[in-house]
Symmetry: C2
Subunit: 131 residues, 2 copies
């Protein structure tokens, strides 16, 4: 547990208060979160389906990331009736659904520059030469 008296904790909270931008970044920071939300949006709504899509994730880590996304109300768990052992579906909330296009634009942003879009500084119009 992060200590509530630490500067670390205080800094985090003050940033969250300053602007929702910071808590939003915090909600999607986590190695697998973007990919998990994406796969669930495509209908991979079971634990084992996500494991298949993310073959290198450990059970403990997947469970943790799902719980964090649930705590942020990005997804919810629903039990599938009359199944033994009980099956669980992961469903995006409207908050989670609203996140998807934002993650898409992040994806496109990164992709356009990874694909060779020139980096320039608008202030001086000089092209940056990346090593």
């Amino acid at each position: 547990m992060r200590k509530k008296e630490s500067t670390d904790y205080a800094n985090e909270q003050s940033l969250f208060q300053l602007c929702e931008r910071n808590s939003a970044i915090n909600m999607i920071s986590g190695r697998w979160k973007g990919q998990i939300v994406y796969y669930i949006s495509l209908g991979n709504d079971r634990f084992h389906l996500l494991q298949q899509k993310l073959p290198n994730i450990s059970e403990a880590v997947l469970a943790r990331q799902l719980k964090e996304l649930e705590n942020h109300a990005i997804l919810v768990k629903r039990e599938i009736p009359d199944t033994i052992p009980v099956g669980i579906r992961y469903l995006l909330t409207n908050k989670g659904v609203d996140l998807v296009p934002i993650l898409d634009s992040l994806c496109n942003w990164g992709k356009s520059y990874a694909d060779g879009k020139k980096i320039v500084v608008p202030a001086d119009n000089n092209v940056i030469d990346l090593g």
Copy 2:
């Protein structure tokens, strides 16, 4: 340094390869990055101005975050001529400028739900009651 043989490193790289979404999230993950990019976009382009805007950040941390943003070509450093000691301006590249509206939409996304927008699950139309 993260060891290149570790599973940790391999997982990170495979996610970056899988989709730019993941490397983009990685670029903006870092406690102060969103706020730094925002303040620079408003014209706070000096180290000491950023320190004023972010009073709780330590010099070491600010320098680290700026260097990471520079490594991702989101900003560049420009020396101010004929200054002793030498002054540095931080300028957003076009890549950095393109990031700003995405961070804004992230901000609005978080804000709308923080402000009381109802959380529902589109699949079943049930309203979620958050404690």
